[in-house]
Amino acid sequence: MTHIDEAEVRRIARLAHLDLDDREVRTLRDQLGAVLSYVALLDDLPILPEPAETRAVPADPAPVAHPDEPAPCLPVEEALRNAPDAVAGWLRVPRTLAE
């Protein structure tokens, strides 16, 4: 059983930028513990002599490339249309320097 305690759950939540309440912390402690115990199956793996080949497909013989030419991009007003807060062509965010 891979043990993961509540302090560890809270540490990971900070890294993931997630606020969790106490109930979520307890649930995730148990559920992540169960999943991590299962994935410990990977500890049986033979160690490969060479670095793992992890590309999903073999390198294509004709690499995908296209001419490096300027092309139109999304207009600013379009890009800001979905923003929760925007002003005068900019995204507005909460103050950062005080942190």
């Binding site: 993961i4 999943v35 590309r55 497909v57 890009a79 929760p84």
Partner: protein, 501 residues
């Protein structure tokens, strides 16, 4: 006689329709895309209340369909001839809200189409609406959605599979002739199997991922769902190919998949991987897949047992690689550029509150797992080993195909459609249902789910065909043979409509 049946008779469209026939009739001028679109809207209004396959129908549907009719009148090429296509709600549709089944994207209206969606429109199809999914495509049951759970038309107390459950139900319940889904670990194939339709996960790189909301970029692929193998082939043909907006979309030419459907399997070497036929596989599913092997043999294929020895490592490797990539991809949902914002305090607090309020429990669980797997002190033991396992799973496939087998035949899922809520509280049990599908994503190879009739409870059973990289045409050859050998009815709700009409 209900109003619904009157509508069907007025349209002269069968309740259990065929996308191939509809397309043909449209080409001959016997049917208009505008009428077909309106008929789909009626069927959704009538039938989707209890199933919840759709999260929204395009309000401009009939207008867009009429524009395709005008293209026919002008003689423009329209290979998808006026067909309405249901689109999974993690593919961007310009001007039509895209939610990914998440509260965090509430109100998000994409400024552009995904490439796959743009290609549908170019080919003369009409985007019918957006279908429900597990939030950000993370799930195997379409229960994890802010829009509520989608139900299986074969038994509304059961799940339709996921995460493309809405797309599979839309096609199975004859509300849409065709649909698009996405598949990161089985999200097209497993719902296709649970709902009795055809679903294809193409080779990684066969279809552009531009405008597909990223979950795990090295695993995600867009693909078709359809009632017929030939329609799935036609839809894939329309969306496949290189794309300047996605440098990982392969430059290889797209084969004629529709023609492949008629080519048969004479002389084809088919492998049955022994690791896919052991417990916890439901014996009824095992028996049916072996019957499918016998059907291919009768058509001239040679079937042999093969071994993919690293299969047992696939689920753990998948759940580490996919969640690690998700933890990075979903960092963009921070309440700044789109979606909801929960403010108060500084910027970091806004991030944390927004994400806490916007993500559901399954997404949070996976972000936590992925963040853990990548964090200092754990990276090598978890993510590093998962990558190594992935390489071994991939090597198993490459060696099998190098050994002369042209495709593999397996079950799609070890179990049939399970009951709603049955696995919600046990994430590991849910993850283990992906045991036969995640392998193709890890290896990047194409795979297809094809219906193999019904089980003793009247629920669909699916068979999976897995091919070598860019071997989609081979999959379609075998799938068309299995489709003829295992005619699968439509769900009872559709068959009842067919009898009344």
């Amino acid at each position: 006689v209900s109003e619904a049946v009157v509508a069907l008779e007025t349209m002269a469209l069968p309740a259990r329709w065929s996308a191939e026939t509809l397309r043909h009739d449209w080409g001959e001028g016997r049917l208009s895309a505008a009428d077909l679109a309106a008929e789909c809207r009626r069927r959704i209004a009538r039938g989707d209340g209890g199933l919840r396959a759709f999260v929204r129908v395009d309000p401009r549907l009939e207008e867009r369909a009429a524009a395709v009719d005008s293209r026919r009148a002008r003689g423009e090429p329209t290979p998808l001839g006026g067909l309405p296509v249901a689109v999974k709600d993690n593919l961007l549709t310009a001007g039509l809200e895209t939610s990914c089944g998440s509260r965090i994207l509430d109100g998000f209206v994409p400024p552009v189409d995904a490439t796959a969606v743009a290609r549908l429109r170019e080919a003369g199809a009409v985007v019918l609406g957006k279908t429900n999914l597990d939030e950000f495509a993370m799930g195997s049951s379409t229960e994890h959605s802010t829009h509520g759970a989608t139900r299986n038309p074969w038994d509304p107390e059961r799940v339709p599979g996921g995460s493309s459950g809405g797309s599979a139900v839309a096609v199975a319940a004859a509300m849409a002739p065709l649909a698009l889904g996405s598949d990161t670990g089985g999200s097209i194939r497993q719902p296709a199997a649970f709902c009795g339709v055809v679903g294809v996960k193409p080779t990684w790189g066969r279809v552009s991922r531009s405008g597909l909301v990223a979950f795990a970029s090295s695993l995600d692929q867009v693909g078709p769902l359809a009632r017929e193998v030939a329609s799935a082939a036609r839809l894939l043909q329309a969306i496949a190919g290189p794309d300047p907006l996605d440098a990982t979309a392969a430059a290889r030419p797209v084969e004629d998949y529709v023609a492949a459907c008629g080519r048969g399997v004479a002389g084809m070497r088919v492998g049955l991987p022994r690791e896919y036929f052991s417990p916890p596989l439901d014996p009824a599913i095992a028996e049916r897949v072996r019957a499918a092997a016998a059907a291919l043999e009768r058509e001239g294929a040679r079937v042999e047992e093969v071994s993919l020895p690293h299969t047992r490592y696939a689920v753990p490797a998948y759940y580490l690689v996919a969640t690690a990539e998700a933890s990075s991809n979903l960092a963009r949902y921070d309440g700044v550029r789109y979606g909801i914002r929960r403010g108060g305090g500084g910027l970091r607090e806004t991030y944390r509150r927004t994400r806490a309020a916007g993500f559901g429990p399954e997404v949070k669980r996976r972000l936590m797992l992925g963040t853990f797997a990548l964090s200092a002190g754990y990276h090598e033991r978890f993510y590093g080993r998962a990558q190594q396992a992935r390489a071994l799973v991939r090597r198993d496939f490459v060696e099998s195909f190098r050994g002369g087998v042209e495709l593999l035949l397996t079950p799609v899922s070890p179990v049939g459609p399970f009951r709603l809520g049955e696995k919600l509280e046990d994430p590991l049990a849910m993850y283990l249902t992906d045991v036969y599908t995640v392998t193709a994503n890890l290896a990047g190879v194409p795979a297809l789910a094809v219906p193999l009739g019904l089980d003793g409870h009247g629920l669909p059973i699916g068979g999976q065909l897995i091919g070598p990289h860019f071997g989609e045409a081979t999959l379609f050859r075998a799938a068309a043979v299995l489709e003829r050998a295992f005619p699968t009815p439509a769900p009872p709700c559709v068959e009842a409509g067919a009898r009344r009409a």
